[in-house]
Amino acid sequence: MYLYNEFDQTLVNERVEQFRDQTARFLNGDLTEEQFRPLRLMNGLYIQTHAPMLRINIPYGLLSSKQLRMFAHISHKYDKDYGHFTTRQNMQFNWPELERVPDILADLASVQMHSIQSSGNCIRNTTSDPLAGVCADEIEDPRPYCEIIRQWSTLHPEFSYLPRKFKIAVSGSPKDRAATQVHDIGLHLKKGANGEIGFEVLVGGGLGRTPVIGQTINAFIAEKDLLSYLEAILRVYNRFGRRDNKYKARIKILVRETGLDKFKEQVESEWASIRHGDLTLSNEEIQRVKNFFTPLNYETSTNDALEQHLANSGLFRQWFKQNTIEHKQTGYRVVFLSLKSPNRAPGDVTNVQMEQIANMADQYSFGQIRTTHDQNLALTDVKTSDLYALWQQLEKQELATANIGTITDMICCPGLDFCSLANASSIDIAQGITDRFTDNAIDTGSISLKMSGCMNGCGHHSIGEIGILGVDKKGEQWYQLTLGGSDSHQSKLGDRLGKAIAKDLVVDAIDDIVQVYKSNRNDNENFANTLQRIGLQPFKDKVYDAH
């Protein structure tokens, strides 16, 4: 993985000192809350319902065991012994004290991490495919390009006071595992006619109040032009994006109001002025970064031991089938660690679990851990002969719930319990769904369920096959259901099922939906296909007739 040089390290160290000074001036009363706000947000610090919340970047979802141990340390020393993994490859701590945040940032800097621009109206953490470098269908490893984008966007002087937040995701495979179509900019690595590397550029996607699927603005730009093209888009957005209404300030609204063709014209005219300038990436620079992501030292291994364990243990077999997938290297598997056990809120992990995962990564997976868009973790390079031993350790830590891709593997925001924006709680609904389906999640099949506690959509409800959105009705918590969304390579927004449902009936309604699916599916037909075949009506009838 990428390792900081002296230059990178100096920058994050100086950032810590800058924030230490800003925090001290705020606490002395020299900075007003209004003035301090963008400064703290650009260091990932929110003021939440109970306490500040600190969001830390995990660039393109890649963590070393040392970095994960630092998260464990921070959660123990400054927080309540746990942390929360988000959908955008961030770690969130919900209980730090403002006075101690500069010390947390210093601890993070000591392991080459930071929270720079993890919030605020600026370019956020660049996210990517958690299977980058290990999946068989990859065109090109996206991580070096993500690192190049990370550096370009970090402390970008021109783009730190944008109309609104700005998110970039990069995918290197035809199968999109990074939700690139619902990002302000989505980049798909492509190969040109002569094998040259480039990107298809999507723009204007996003969730939130007005969910939009991104559109292609340029079908192929060469890799050397990556940064100049990004800069052109950002400059047009910074100049023309709306600033009169924060709900209309994202680039998706600008693209919609301007029209894609005219927006493209503006971007490409800007690009023409800067294209061959100092943002052009040299082969040497690309290669320098690529050298940090060379293939790992894989060993040859046989599947004999694995076959035997699979034959002997039903539970292991179930976990293997549900929570591991193929690796491009024979003799290795990708292992997902489910952060959706029945006993914890989705995405939450304790300091003890983090310590243990770091140890397992060192022992079995080259000391690296990935975070996924679905709020799980992955050890991506595990020898098949080690799988049984790893599974036993994961079981002990409640990280082997065999539910990856099932209805209990849901995406869920922190909701009203923590977030000052939320209209309704998410965690207790998640708990209700988990309780209802834990025993038959695998039998229920592959269903993506995503839930947000308000229309800002941090839980990505719009692109869930089943989406749940918390709304406020005269001070009461109600929930709006949508069906048929997708975050796959052809992303799609879900359709509204009908009127909102009272809190105590939500789990029953989800159960009804699952029953309609199960009684109508053909053989192994998945939820999306059954829904497409029979339409929304049978689901409507069941849910609304019953209640």
Partner: protein, 152 residues
């Protein structure tokens, strides 16, 4: 008025033209509309002239007149409005504007460094007392991933 120019606190010898008042003999900063209406007179005066524009002003509205100006002042309506950064960067990088580009309006000491990184060489803080703090903020970072546009 205290001004930070080229990393030093200096005295400002420019004057903003106030509506209804007469021009000074030299070093006037005029609005875009005043410039448009009085172009011929201002050019014939042959004195150093400055132009005040808002951060969201269309560059094409004054790009052809750039050779007449010894100074462009870009006004920030609020510190959170980042349009002036792109305007300054474009003036320096694409139009190669060689003279002073000054940030005025609602700018904070904590923004001083970013402002100078996009091409502003003069910062006019609303509160004179904040100038030393803003000056100290210019040295907060010794390394950057982005290049700074030069006037040359």
């Amino acid at each position: 008025m205290t001004l930070i120019k080229n990393k030093k606190i200096t005295q400002d010898n420019w004057h903003y033209l106030v509506d209804g008042q007469a021009l000074q003999t030299s070093h006037n900063i005029v609005s875009l509309s005043y410039w448009v209406e009085n172009k011929a007179d201002l050019i014939s005066a042959e004195a150093p002239l400055g132009l005040l524009v808002q951060g969201d002003e269309e560059l094409t509205n004054f790009a052809n007149d750039l050779p007449h100006f010894s100074l462009i002042a870009i006004e920030f309506p609020t510190f959170a409005d980042g349009r002036g950064y792109s305007l300054a960067k474009t003036l320096r990088e694409q139009f190669k504007f060689p003279n002073e580009i000054r940030a005025v309006g609602d700018i904070l000491p904590d923004q001083a460094l970013y402002l100078t990184r996009v091409g502003f060489d003069a910062l006019e803080l609303a509160d004179d007392q904040l100038a030393p703090l803003a000056l100290s903020k210019l040295d907060e970072f010794s390394v950057f991933y982005q290049s700074t546009p030069s006037a040359q």
